[in-house]
């Protein structure tokens, strides 16, 4: 049997020595038995890379040539003309359809059925809300609105799962790196004046939800926008003094729980022609409309927290940490 010349100090040699006890295992690693293999692999990778790059360049050239062809240019021109024609055709078809829609406000329209008649005629009497829309979404269809609030909360939770950083402080982007306009003095002055006004406006819209247009969703969106403005002008550190992740969890949980319990109770006692113990109040007064005002507040809280939560999660990956 022919022995290879490089058996001395090769991997096989060392394994044999190790088995006979002459060598410690630590020395085996020094031999780098896969050195040749690694080099070969690197060469192969480089070769493939070159081939791929050459192929890419060739295809790029071919594409350029193909682009210069007369037929391709014609095709492109035809594409442009056809796309405009198709657009005009679709617009014409849609406008033709619009001409056959029932006219606005006609009393024979299909949406003028007994449901909307009931809402308009008996809404004030049955819900106590001057704003019929509030009476509809928070009394007749309150569970639908409850579902919407839960959808917002679940959406916020999903964003939390997807975007959340680890809780470690070093993973946070410090405020200094968040761009110059974070500490912009002009924005700070404007925010100082505007933030209370925006918050007050949102609160007024929520509290007047059963009396005038507006309600929990729009008022909550305004408050959330105010919080975002505050965070932009003064940084998240200042906002954390009164709004942390714990506040978010607690407040949203309490709002959703109260909504669910209150409305279940209301439906259980009132919707089945039983006596409802929650008073309706005088229509037009601020404390009227039964459960609509507290439910509006709950919806507003959930919407505001969700808006700010989205912003905070997208901006830096955590809700304000306690």
């Amino acid at each position: 049997m022919k022995l290879r010349e490089d058996i001395e100090n090769s991997f096989t040699d060392k394994v044999e020595k190790w088995m006979s006890g002459d060598l410690q295992p630590a020395d085996i690693h020094d031999a780098k038995p896969f050195r040749h293999y690694e080099a070969a692999q690197e060469a192969e990778v480089a070769f493939i890379r070159d081939v791929v790059r050459g192929e890419e360049e060739r295809q790029h050239e071919a594409y350029k040539e193909w682009n210069q062809k007369k037929s391709v240019k014609n095709l492109r021109r035809a594409y442009g003309v056809l796309s405009v024609l198709v657009c005009i055709g679709i617009i014409a078809v849609l406008l033709y359809t619009v001409a056959y829609l029932p006219s606005f406000g006609d009393k024979t329209n299909p949406d003028n059925n007994e449901v909307s008649q009931r809402y308009i005629e008996k809404g004030l009497e049955e819900t106590g809300a001057v704003n019929i829309v509030a009476g509809m979404i928070l009394d007749y269809r309150a569970f639908d609105t409850y579902g919407e609030s839960n959808v917002l909360f679940i959406a916020c939770c999903c964003v939390l799962i997807l975007l959340r950083n680890d809780n470690k402080k070093e993973n946070l982007i410090p405020d200094e790196q968040e761009g110059e306009f974070q500490r912009n003095p002009i924005l700070a002055v404007a925010a100082k004046v505007l933030f209370p006004i925006i918050l007050m406006f949102g609160i007024v819209i929520i509290l007047n939800g059963h009396l005038s247009p507006g309600g929990g969703f729009s008022g909550g969106a305004i408050i959330g926008a105010g919080l975002i403005l505050y965070a932009n002008a003064f940084g998240f550190d200042k906002l954390e003094k009164f709004f942390t992740a714990k506040t978010f969890r607690t407040v949203v949980f309490i709002a959703l729980l109260f909504y669910g319990l209150a409305k279940s109770y209301s439906f259980y006692t009132g919707a089945n022609h039983l006596k409802n113990v929650i008073p309706k109040g005088t229509p037009g007064a601020i404390l009227s409309g039964g459960l609509i005002l507290p439910l509006n507040i709950c919806v507003g809280i959930v919407v505001a927290c969700t808006m700010y939560g989205f912003y905070s999660l997208f901006k830096r990956g955590v809700l304000s940490d306690a």
Partner: protein
Amino acid sequence: MEWLRFVVAAILLFTGALVEVLAVFGGFKFKYVLNRIHSSAMGDTLGLLLIAAGMCVIWGFSMTTLKIIAMVLLFWMTSPVSCHLLGRLETETNEKLGEECEVQDGWI
């Protein structure tokens, strides 16, 4: 007296509309961001003021007028600030700012 009010309101409204049209025109006419901001900010401040003043003249002194004045004040707070932020962002992120407009030394 009524015709005087009408004439004043009409002049204010037309001037305001003209300013708005100029603002929109500038937004399409100019090539660079800062020029566009310069032109379109005019509509949010002067144009809005003129149109709101025209509405106030039409309505006379009432709750609606006060609301319109509050609206103008709110817009004058918010619109220039957002405009300033946009311009700031542009000066910070645009690398070819010096080619587009005259820039003071040390501002790029």
